[in-house]
């Protein structure tokens, strides 16, 4: 289990190799990369700036990752989230899950993303090509995505 908040870009192969390299007991590795899109609500973007709440961010990501590890038999997991100013096409977030079973790896990665999007204290501000800047609104669909995991919560 690893959680990192960083301004630097991440390299997919290097991160996966760090996490799983040399291990021969893993069967399935899923990665999710979220990237900056060049368009938002029909406007062309120049860049996106991510602000976060240092301390709480790491605490929330660690909680979310621990929760995933309780729900699924993960052999390794990683969350990297970038902050600062990013250009269209750049990676914002990387989630990696490794498990003996493919469905566990898929579900855990999807769960991590859903939780991260609604719990981890990051905020995006978009800078449009025309110079206007706007904070991104939270999407209701993210809360809906989160709700589907509640039904399978064991208490």
């Amino acid at each position: 289990m690893t959680v990192r908040v960083q301004t630097a870009p991440f390299d997919l192969s290097a991160e996966v190799a760090n996490l799983t390299g040399g291990r021969t007991d893993i069967g399935a590795i899923v990665t999710f990369t979220g990237t900056v899109r060049d368009t938002s609500h029909g406007q062309k973007l120049a860049s996106m700036t991510l602000e976060h709440y240092p301390g709480m961010t790491e605490a929330e990501l660690t909680r979310v990752e621990a929760d995933a590890n309780v729900r699924w038999p993960l052999q390794a997991s990683l969350i990297i989230h970038r902050v600062g100013t990013l250009l269209p096409g750049e990676g914002i977030v990387l989630v990696v899950t490794a498990s003996p079973h493919r469905q566990a790896a898929f579900d855990a990665a999807s769960f991590l993303m859903d939780y991260l999007k609604t719990r981890a204290p990051f905020w995006k501000k978009e800078l449009a090509l025309d110079g206007s800047g706007d904070w991104v609104d939270a999407r209701e669909s993210d809360d809906v995505a989160l709700a589907r995991w509640e039904t399978s919560t064991s208490t």
Partner: protein
């Protein structure tokens, strides 16, 4: 009770500062009480908290509802719904 208040994203921009130390009156019991008290401090605060239902809060780096008691709070943060990922 002395606490650190933190503001993020457009809450920070509207208030015009990222953090401050304040001495909370003992009459404030919940996060909602604190929001009402902050709004009375001036137009920037009043504007930032004009729609309290869209404000999220955390006490000591843990998400809490506005009905949460302030007991034991050292660091209280206010921010819009998160948009990471």
């Amino acid at each position: 009770m002395k606490v650190t208040l933190l503001y993020f994203a457009w809450v920070r921009e509207k208030i015009g500062r990222a953090r401050e130390e304040v001495e909370l009156p003992a009459t404030l019991k919940t996060v909602a009480d604190l929001i009402a008290w902050l709004r009375a401090r001036g137009p920037k605060y009043d504007n930032a908290f004009a729609r309290p239902e869209v404000i999220r809060s955390a006490i000591n780096q843990t998400h809490v509802k506005q009905s949460a008691p302030l007991t034991g709070a050292r660091e209280i943060a206010f921010f819009p719904p998160v948009t990471g990922g």
